[in-house]
Symmetry: C2
Subunit: 241 residues, 2 copies
Amino acid sequence: MDDSARLMTVLRPVRAGNAFEETVERLLQAIKLGVVAPGEKLPPERELAARLGISRVTLREAIRALQDSGYLDVRRGRYGGAFVTYTPPRPGTGSLRRMVAEMGGDDLDDALTFRLAVECGAAQVLAATPLTAEQRQVLLRRLSDLEQATLEDYRRLDTAFHLSIAELTGSTLLATTCADARSRVSDLLNAIPMLQVNIDHAAAQHQAIVDAVLAGDPDAARRAVCEHLEGTAALLRGFLA
Amino acid sequence: MDDSARLMTVLRPVRAGNAFEETVERLLQAIKLGVVAPGEKLPPERELAARLGISRVTLREAIRALQDSGYLDVRRGRYGGAFVTYTPPRPGTGSLRRMVAEMGGDDLDDALTFRLAVECGAAQVLAATPLTAEQRQVLLRRLSDLEQATLEDYRRLDTAFHLSIAELTGSTLLATTCADARSRVSDLLNAIPMLQVNIDHAAAQHQAIVDAVLAGDPDAARRAVCEHLEGTAALLRGFLA
DNA sequence: ATTGATTGGGCTAGTCTCAGACCATTGAGG
DNA sequence: CCTCAATGGTCTGAGACTAGCCCAATCAAT
């Protein structure tokens, strides 16, 4: 926490890896967050390369790697493309332990703290903002989508709900940061068995979050998100104890 | 806020620029945030290049650019190095308008919202954490440093105080995010004339933040940071109206 | 004055990445 | 059955970036 800590913070690596690695990471984020749902396809290579600001060659290497790993099914010709084949693996505590071991305990705490801070911050900001009728509708829509979700779609729609809160603030930076925070723990969340008790509990908390936001109560919104995320974190740690 | 918005969020450019540009940006961040104070020097090129994960050639190009722009004074030989010569320009509303025009109004709102969310989130998390005696000391030290600051050092120590809150949470991700958020508005903050009234007002708010954190009251911490940052944001917008 | 450690300055060969052009495959619509 | 638009597959030359090496300058210690 002294000045040298701040040096480490700011003078950290400029790049997380080479273009290929960063591209794989980004595509994996899109897939695992369900931004591109199973069965859907990525944008055409030319368009995607332009969006990501990389060359088609590099993009194709990344797509090839994900194809080899079983995340994508690439088809040629018109109406072809890179189709998402990935579905979250069946939860099991064994795989959870393995993933945490790979990640490292400090990194897990870091990721959970990070997510707690940015999601609480987003909810608080949104609750302090006067919302349009359209914004309220989006939020309620996400909530009802989640309530009617099948077990298959639950995680994806849960992600959509949480990310919508950040998106509705209108801050792109905040939205990308929340997406990043979520993706850092998404594998772990997917490994938690989904019990009906937990889902019901989560549903009540989601409702409380929406209520607080719509009521324009930042403190209540903060508390509701905090409670929800700490519940999830506790569940996670419970399977590790 | 529909699904296409989420596509834009996740499938954004992988890289903000080439290695040279990103390195210049990072060094500028270290200088403008005062992580390397005026008169101090950057780490030796070899060490710095290793930390940033780039080659010495690229680093030297970036340093050269900052030297040409008057941010650094580079001296050879033992006890040489790249010394920071930059000091924040004298505030003036004219330069502020120009900078905002360059930045774009939407980007300004984005940056301010982002900063509000992450700093409130950090303070809330820290207040919810049981602090060690050492952590309390660090926080109090930063506060007293700021209270005794000369006009010359005020901005730098104000930055140090705010960043310490995120650092004390122990989350590297949160610390880097807060540093990033601050650097996005630092030029604008530096352009605001510093009136004694505002400094006194800010001092009281800083004290309120520390009180809430030490008292372990997340809601109060959130409110205190929110009030403080919205005061600054209002001041900023005031000079633009 | 000499020496030695530390630091910036510069060169080269090799790898990564890119832009752009062209080829191959697919399938809907005429 | 043909055609054509959309899409993935491939190649090439140029530029960006890197690792590693050696040179040049500076200054405290001797």
